[in-house]
Symmetry: C2
């Protein structure tokens, strides 16, 4: 890998030249006369960390707008599942490609996925040069041989990119996976040093069913199985009480907050203040295109911040910088990616943002403009691992 | 004014040629061989109505990101008012220009404004060819001579564009305008056949103060003054009870719902279902750039729909088509503009939307994609009154 010099870019309000050496930031103040294999002129642009989308179902891009504005059960049983039953491997590839392109276009360099036929998704991610943590999904209804196959895939996994793609062990949820398989998933992940990706307490219905079946709430139930730990990424976590928040914090669980999906499906109101006060690590996810209906993390930051303020009744809740941290470094950290900030020595993931867009003017506060005012179309360039994925809004595999 | 032919555009899922004659839609299915002064090739694009933003403060674009994430009183007294006190007429012009450009770029062809030094804003609107209803703002603290001047301006108003710009009588709010001046404003508007633009029940604080001072709530108080009528556009209307909703509906008051502003300032939760059930006409506004922080009505539609679902706990609340109607024809109707739908004989206001953007794919449902998935960067062309304001995303005064 060569070197890349970003010239005349605004970093923390000051114009500088940034040198990327290999896949890491070398110098954030490269001296005049610095030479590099590639030079990016960034006059009039600011550099910001890109997005790390911690919960999605990429190939569901094919279901964007297929069914909206209806109750969850009807949505799932009459529309989503019948559609998914007809999806071929080629569909998964096309859906993954559409999602990957949408994510790069909107500034994400990483996503944590949970779906099926993952070989297709992995190949597309590889083709475009993004990072991803691809979930190997477990549900109870799969046959024993399917489950063995999945365990084998996990055990024999070799990242074809040498660092951009990992697998996660992804038991779908407590209502689709029984206790034995949940424990098996956790053990496998811990043996292999992989992350665990699961939906937790998305709906009131899930909590009520859990109490009926297991005599306790989902977080307590999972904790009683020894399932929870710092390797767990829990999507949604809408319906939890204060003690459950404390358990999640104590176990070091990462939460993937998906405000658009929760609001659109009317799943309930995310208890941001409570989870934050408990000390949980909170990241941001878009969920799939079928329940959002896009993968735009810039928009998701605004939804997260405005929802948190509206819910708490306090405009000081989740200031812009906090929303940005959730969407960037918190997500990277949760997956052990040494990125999410523009800092010397860190992996060179970044966005170059055009400041000539009306929404970015005036620039009293870049982070405020980015979280509250911008559109993802202000993104000119996306860098991942020192490589250019998009430039002048053109995706480079195009 | 000449004729304009839009070729190969998708209307309700079918490809057609649309002929605009003068400032109105002539034929939505122009026969082959139709000639026109101007031809727009719209292959791969869909036509949709543009946005009518019913509540904003355009020149506050200069305060975008100047102060966020703080309590309303501190925000106003320590930041907004001191800043505004220093604004010159030239600032108002520059702020209006930035806002007008932002609005055209994001698909609005009309805004209802409330600010000061309105001559500057009017000239900018005229320059760019948008529609606007510019509020002549009344507050109690203005001197008698200032108020006379404003009344004179209203009485002698002549729209320099012959149809695109109107004035509204804009008493700021019940807490800044006393009962006599409120009545005077309403009488003046009714004598002159103008609309009335006012903030109503934005915060709990406003309601509590009103009850303390006038012994009743804002809507009841205004109704007791004979203020409410079908010419009133009421911004916010967050804190009202069922009887007040019935009063607003009976008087034919139009509501300008501003979800982003209400959420960002934590003003309270808009009672959408109650106001809709009462039969109120509900439109959409962005409020100013200082409390949103953009003027993007596409984003505002998504916020409105997702907030309504989240608040009601029912994903069927405010389906996509309802959000689109609020942002388009409801707003146009409220201001007596014969537009907001793509229909023969109506004023030719429209957007051409690029369908090759990832977020618009696949296109199971165009309206769903537009409300929930798109970004305003999908807008290629903006037409207002039969004239092109933006094409290929280039604003034509550029």
């Amino acid at each position: 890998m060569g070197s890349l010099l970003i010239k005349n870019v605004l970093l923390d309000g000051k114009k500088t030249d940034i040198l990327i050496e290999g896949n890491r930031f070398g110098s954030l103040a490269a001296p005049a006369g610095t030479v590099a294999d590639t030079v990016l002129e960034a006059e009039g642009m600011a550099i910001l960390p890109p997005f790390y989308n911690t919960h999605t179902h990429a190939a569901m891009s094919l279901l964007r707008g297929y069914a909206d504005d209806m109750p969850l059960q009807k949505w799932l049983t009459d529309y989503i599942w019948p559609f998914e039953n007809k999806m071929t491997r080629q569909d998964i590839r096309e859906g993954s490609r559409l999602a990957v392109r949408e994510m790069i276009r909107t500034g994400s360099v990483f996503f944590s996925d949970m779906y099926f036929d993952i070989e297709e998704t992995i190949e597309v991610v590889q083709e475009y040069g993004m990072r991803a943590a691809i979930g190997v999904t477990f549900v109870e209804s799969h046959s024993k041989s399917q489950q063995s196959e999945k365990l084998d895939m996990l055990r024999h996994w070799v990242d074809p990119t040498g660092g951009l793609i990992s697998l996660t062990v992804a038991p779908h949820a407590i209502y689709t996976v029984g206790p034995d398989l949940l424990v098996k998933c956790a053990e496998t992940a811990r043996t292999l040093g992989m992350k665990i990706h699961i939906h937790i307490s998305e709906t009131r219905h899930e909590v009520d069913d859990c109490v009926r079946e297991h005599g306790t709430t989902p977080v307590r139930y999972l904790d009683s199985l020894g399932f929870l730990g710092p390797d767990v990424i829990a999507a949604h976590v809408v319906h939890v009480d204060e003690e459950e928040a404390a358990i999640l914090a104590r176990r070091g669980v990462t939460i993937s907050h998906c405000p658009c999906s929760n609001m659109k499906l009317a799943s309930g109101t995310f208890p941001y203040q409570m989870l934050r006060a408990a000390g949980c690590r909170i990241t941001l996810g878009t969920d799939g295109d079928s329940s959002n209906n896009n993968l735009d993390m810039r928009e998701e930051m605004k939804f997260a911040a405005l929802l948190a303020k509206s819910t708490s009744g306090n405009p000081e809740t989740m200031p812009a910088g906090e929303a940005l941290a959730m969407a960037t470094r918190n997500g990277a950290e949760a997956f052990g990616i040494d990125a999410g900030e523009i800092r010397e020595g860190m992996l060179a993931d970044a966005l170059l943002i055009r400041l000539d867009d009306e929404r970015m003017q005036p620039c009293h506060n870049l982070v405020s403009n980015w979280v509250y005012a911008a559109g993802s179309s202000c993104i000119d360039t996306v860098l991942c691992n020192g490589r250019i994925l998009m430039k002048d809004r053109i995706i480079l595999s195009e």
